[in-house]
Amino acid sequence: MKITLRIWRQADREAVGGLQTYQLDNVSEDMSFLELLDMLNEQLTAQDLEPVAFDNDCREGICGMCGVVVNGAPHGRYDSSVPTTTCQLHMRSFQDGAVIDVEPWKAGPFPIIKDLVVDRSAFDHIIQAGGYISVNTGAAPEAHSTPAPKRQADRAFDNATCVGCGACVAACPNGSAMLFTAAKVTHLAMLPQGQPERMRRIKAMVAAHDEAGFGGCTNIGECASVCPKQIPLASIGQLNRDLIASLFKGDGK
């Protein structure tokens, strides 16, 4: 395959970025999108040019490190029915001769560090505010001593699959991280161990979300449609219900 890439290049946080065009020949359709970037970087390095910086780690869709906007859609999924991370996007999804625009996540709270790499520490601040359970566990209890209803356990698990890649924020017209926050909130709210801190947690995480500079949700659903882990929009409904309920509780007063 012949591929033309137009990649966002930005030297550092303060620099003014812009798209640069690169041509690649002999691209195999079995390559992943990150392997395509590897191929480009090998060529750039051989020409003594600065390689394109991009984040990645596991390359099997489970760590959440990778993620770029491909042709205007985070992780390049757009209307494909297959949820994907950028590392699991393959060149067979593109036409021979395609021109592909590649940009970093663009959101106020995600400063661009270099080229396609953004700083997602803002997510860490949301988790630090309450995305945990602080019980002294001691020795592992007998597994059946705390029953977890099947339906809730399934919802907890589905929401726990969020890898924190940030595609939801990148896709959102409001730069909101509600889907991310909702996934964490719903995950813990569905489990027996999450109950004691449930009301304090929702207040703390929602406040931290806003203070990190993310926008408010307008229920459009771009986030859920690009999520590689298929976190449903209904999780934001759970977050809203929990927050409204928490306002009538004294936790955190």
Binding site: L19, G216, T218, G237, L247, G252
Partner: protein, 246 residues
């Protein structure tokens, strides 16, 4: 320090107070006030349809609205003022929260750092959702025009005298095609707003519990938007084309 994200200075507010000031709470306020306003619109619309029954019915309805609702629990003429106060407060809260959320969105998507995608595709965003803010402002301007026209009678069309009945005022105004056209625009802005707003309000209040609920709420929103457009445009259209109302 490079490499760290600037956090807004931590406040001395309690956790509870910070949650109370959150964007989610502003959304909830918008949802409740928005639904109140839609409730008012529906009532207003059904009231207007009384022109089809005739001048007496319509004038009597207008009089009842101003004087007699909840009488004798409330003295004559009180209801309309309580009613106006609730609507005005709702509208002010709605617009206040819209402004705050608009600012937060600009910050969230990095508009202040000129972060704009060269190419962006948003398959989920409906046109109605896209124009909520600018469309809401358009609606506000037309709403002011509407009040100046029918409530304060500062702007008038057609020759009806001071003290004319509501029915005369109504028919005299809509005999002009351009008044009719302004109201088509007005109702289009309202319906578009309701198309996303009705769905969004219930979703904000937590009713979106899954894909089917989402389809249902969107269906309801389409229905409410269509009902408002058709219901409001029927009487003026009948006047303009001389169909049963004159």
């Amino acid at each position: 320090m490079p490499g760290s994200v600037a956090l807004v200075a931590t406040t001395t507010l309690s956790m509870h107070a910070r949650a109370l000031h959150s964007l989610v709470v502003k959304k909830v306020v918008m949802a409740i006030t928005g639904l109140l306003l839609i409730g008012f619109l529906l009532m207003h619309m059904f009231g207007n349809l009384k022109v089809f029954i005739g001048p007496e019915a319509y004038n009597h309805y207008a009089e009842w609205l101003k004087q007699d609702i909840l009488y004798p629990i409330l003295p004559h003429g009180w209801f309309i003022w309580i009613f106006r106060a609730v609507i005005a407060v709702s509208l002010v809260l709605h617009i206040y929260c819209a402004t705050k959320l608009w600012q937060a969105s600009l910050r969230g998507r990095g508009a202040h750092d000129n972060k704009k995608y060269t190419k962006v595709r948003r398959p989920q965003q409906t046109i109605a959702a896209k124009v909520m803010r600018w469309g809401g402002l358009t609606l506000l301007l037309l709403l002011i025009f509407h009040i100046l026209m029918f409530t304060t009678q500062t702007i008038t069309f057609g020759n009806f005298k001071a003290g004319a009945t509501p029915y005369d005022m109504f028919t005299a105004s809509f005999e002009h095609w351009y008044v009719w056209a302004i109201y088509v625009l007005f109702m289009a802005a309202v319906s578009l707003h309701v198309r996303h707003g009705f769905y969004s309000a219930f979703t904000t209040l937590g009713a979106n519990v899954g894909p089917q609920a989402r389809v249902f709420l969107n269906g309801l929103a389409y229905f409410a938007a269509a009902l408002i457009f058709v219901g409001f445009m029927l009487p003026p259209t009948a006047v303009l084309f001389g169909l049963g109302v004159s």
